[in-house]
């Protein structure tokens, strides 16, 4: 136990150390950098597994979590404590975080072309362009190593540190610290190739958009701290009296209780971080970063953090819930989550960029989790968070592998105008890249919820079952979204891997090396296998072999008054989820199996003008630019600076100065010059002193002895006179 408590503190440390060591000492050595980075991730991974399995074996982990705390901030004569803690939720979280992070680290080594020569004209800040090598007498172009290879591992190490800190934190402030560190890292990594204008825009967009949520969250933290005097999860969330007090105190804002207001403020943080509607705009643009970063943001860390936070704060969100009546924060979550799920899924239908489709699917899936939590499906939301992390990491890394394969083709043909990310440039990659294909297929099926075998099916099914039991509206929205998900996933798989190659580049695509496909295979196993820990006991047939371990493990991490037994089995949601998954997949394949180019996308005919809306993401970026960004720039520059500071305040000051100046002029012209200067100055001030000066000047001979004689005459003459007079 003591050892475990110590080990918990050591989990976030290796990536942080890796960051500092690489930045300070190893930044010139690519080899040292990746070894330090991957080694750190491996250490954290091993430690996490030890902690995880100890947590699984521990009894009553919910009541007595692992962890320890120490005095951090001296405040008001006492101390604000911070600590790390492993309860069932954190245990599950470090499990998936550690694995995916470790896999992403390994993958990154290959992705950034470790072992390849230096590029011909690569510069830091732009993706590598390839290097020319001479082999067997003729030149050809091969991929070149990333110019900022070392820096990548430093940043991603810090990223991992942030996530570990966040999931292990035992109080909201430490969680927020990890939260913001990840914000910084996502900023740095999205803009990793800052030479591209799009990356520059995306990095700022990501940071600012999430910061909108963050400042609300900070307010929520301050409010919670003010009203409870602590930020510790145990002290707030597991103390029914505290929660009831929060739920019954009026906050003075919009008729909400303090608990309600806090919950909503914190949830706004999640809206920013987990890219929920309407702050979702940054996430698709985050694709500008290298693909491992996308995987990190979409699966392992960034967006999961937002959902993790609301899952963590669930007792607060649910405080005051009686007889199944949703509290205001839960209502907000259910609404925003389901809207996001559907809304993002529709946009994903019309995207042609292989990563962008996945980005919108992430937003949509996060909406699922948030909606699930909104209707009280705590376990289901967590379950989906974990399975989603696995299969989304798999899909992103897979898409990176595809892009890499395509870039190989681009290098071969030398035609740099072909976008290696556009799905309409691909096709038939199944035979070129078999390992990537099969793993991607597994990931895609898990995302679509392909029945029984994939993990995604079990988690999504549980959410739908919960929704069916609690809110019809949420159920139907999510079901439609699930259908769309299956459809666009199959569209993606079909366009990318099936059929015939549409371009020369696709013909010359090449399977990537084991650095990259290895992690894919590991994740594929998890994308299938992890579902089995959460099979409902009452599920026909399979339920006999399962004890729904996840539900018991996680459920007992909740305070008792929130714990609910697993739902009774119901046929309708099961059938619904079978229908939408299989129907979506089948339809997707049927529609897209022979589409030759983007112009002939069948959806265009069906949807007409609406398709353009979808392609342009409902014009959200343009609207935000028009509504917020341009006005903010105008307001800052023209109103605050030019008008307020320069014109009004400085203008007032200049007015004061002007009046003073004018008064001074009057004094000068009508008093100083005639009276003082002429009358007094020219006669008394001029002539008289001048005469004295002329006389006195004679004494100044410059010879030292003259001065001395004068001095002595004064001194001894004085003495002499004194003697004469005083005798």
């Amino acid at each position: 136990m003591e050892m475990t408590n110590l080990l918990i503190w050591l989990l976030p440390v290796p990536p942080l150390l890796a960051f500092f060591i690489i930045v300070l000492f190893a930044n010139r050595s690519n080899k040292a950098s990746w070894m330090i980075g991957v080694g750190a991730a491996a250490l954290s991974f091993l430690g996490s597994m030890v902690v995880f399995f100890q947590a699984v074996g521990a009894e009553h982990l919910g009541e007595h979590p692992f962890g320890s705390r120490l005095d951090w901030l001296p405040l008001n004569g006492a101390h604000f404590q911070i600590g790390l803690m492993v309860d069932p939720l954190s245990a599950i979280a470090i499990f998936f975080v550690a694995i995916t992070v470790f896999m992403i680290f390994i993958y990154s080594v290959g992705y950034h072309n470790w072992g390849q020569p230096k590029g011909d004209d690569d510069i830091p800040g732009l993706p590598p362009h390839g290097a020319t090598v001479v082999e067997h007498g003729h030149e050809h172009v091969v991929p070149s190593i990333e110019p900022m290879f070392a820096r990548f591992f430093a940043f991603i190490g810090l990223f991992a540190f942030g996530m570990f800190t966040l999931v292990l934190a035992d109080n909201l402030l430490l969680l927020f610290i990890g939260w913001e560190i990840m914000g910084l890292c996502s900023y740095l990594l999205i803009g990793f190739w800052y030479g591209k204008p799009s990356a520059r825009a995306a990095m700022i967009k990501a940071f600012i958009t999430t910061r909108v949520g963050d400042v609300f969250m900070l307010l929520g933290i301050a409010l919670l701290y003010t009203s409870t005097g602590t930020l510790s999860f145990r002290a707030i969330l597991f103390d029914e009296q505290v929660l009831q007090a929060l739920a019954s105190t009026d906050s003075g804002f919009f008729g909400l209780s303090v608990a309600g207001l806090t919950g909503i403020l914190l949830f706004i943080g999640t809206i920013g971080k987990s890219a929920q509607f309407p702050l979702h705009v940054w996430l698709p643009d985050a694709m500008e970063g290298p693909t491992p970063v996308s995987a990190m943001i979409h699966a392992a860390a960034m967006v999961s953090a937002g959902v993790y936070m609301v899952i963590r704060m669930f007792p607060l969100m649910a405080a005051g819930m009686e007889h199944g009546h949703l509290t205001p924060p839960m209502y907000a979550m259910a609404l925003i989550g389901s809207v996001t799920a559907l809304f993002a899924a529709t946009i994903a239908l019309a995207q042609n960029d292989v990563k962008r489709v996945l980005a919108y699917s992430t937003i949509s899936q996060l909406g699922y989790m948030v909606a699930a939590l909104g209707i009280g499906a705590y376990v289901a939301a967590t379950f989906h968070l974990v399975t989603h992390a696995f299969f989304k990491a798999l899909l992103f890394l897979g898409s990176g592998s595809v892009i890499h394969g395509m870039e190989h083709g681009v290098l071969h043909t030398g035609d740099h105008h072909v976008d290696p990310q556009n799905m309409y440039n691909m096709g038939g990659l199944k035979d070129k890249m078999p390992r990537t294909f099969w793993t991607f297929l597994i990931g895609g099926f898990a995302l679509s919820g392909f029945p029984v075998v994939t993990a995604g099916f079990w988690s999504k099914d549980e959410i739908l079952a919960d929704a069916w039991a609690h809110s019809q509206f949420v159920f139907w929205v999510l079901a439609i979204a699930a259908f769309l998900t299956a459809f666009y996933t199959m569209r993606q798989i079909t366009l990318t891997f099936l059929g015939k190659p549409r371009t020369k580049e696709a013909e010359h695509a090449h399977e990537t090396n084991l650095w990259m496909t290895g992690p894919l295979m590991v994740l594929a196993v998890l994308a299938i296998g992890f579902g089995w820990v959460g099979i409902p006991e009452s599920f026909p047939g399979l339920g006999n072999y399962s004890n729904n371990w996840l539900h018991h493990f996680l459920g007992h991490g909740l305070p008792e008054w929130l714990y609910t037994e697993a739902l009774e089995f119901s046929w309708f949601p099961l059938i619904a989820s079978l229908v939408v998954a299989l129907g979506g997949l089948g339809l997707g394949y049927a529609v897209y199996k022979d589409v030759p180019s983007a112009e002939e996308d069948p959806l265009k005919k069906v949807l007409g003008g609406f398709h353009t809306w979808l392609e342009n993401k409902y014009y959200f970026d343009e609207a935000y630019d028009f509504l917020f960004i341009q006005p903010a720039k105008w307001f800052s520059e023209k109103v605050v600076f030019q008008l307020m500071d320069r014109k009004l305040i400085d203008g007032f000051l200049h007015l004061v100065a002007r009046v003073t100046y004018w008064l001074g002029g009057i004094f000068r012209n009508y008093f100083d010059i005639p009276v003082v200067n002429r009358l007094i100055g020219d006669t008394l001030g001029g002539a008289v002193p001048q005469w004295f000066g002329k006389q006195l000047r004679k004494v100044q001979t410059g010879a030292i002895q003259t001065y001395m004689i004068l001095a002595m005459v004064v001194a001894f003459g004085g003495l002499f006179v004194f003697m004469i007079t005083m005798r």
């Binding site: 001979t701 410059g702 010879a703 001395m708």
Partner: protein, 102 residues
Amino acid sequence: MIPLSWYLILAALLFGIGLFGVLARKNVIAILLGIELMLNAVNINLLAFWRYLTPGDVTAQIFTVMVFVVAAAEVAVGLALVISVWRKRDTAYADELDMLKW
């Protein structure tokens, strides 16, 4: 027995001679010599006071130490200045060094 007055008169006369040297000589080094004489007069006075008035106390001697120190420092700096001036202006006459004149 010698009364204190003898010493004081001697010192006063020596001081006067030194003062004359300082005021009247042209050569800067000669001026320095005059200063030395004056300082010696001071020393005679100090030690005479010590012997006649406070023989058990060494305060007067402490002042003598200080006078010695000042004398040594003054000679060192003074001579260095003389040499420096000599090099620069090729003169050692005080009345020729009158750049401070208006």
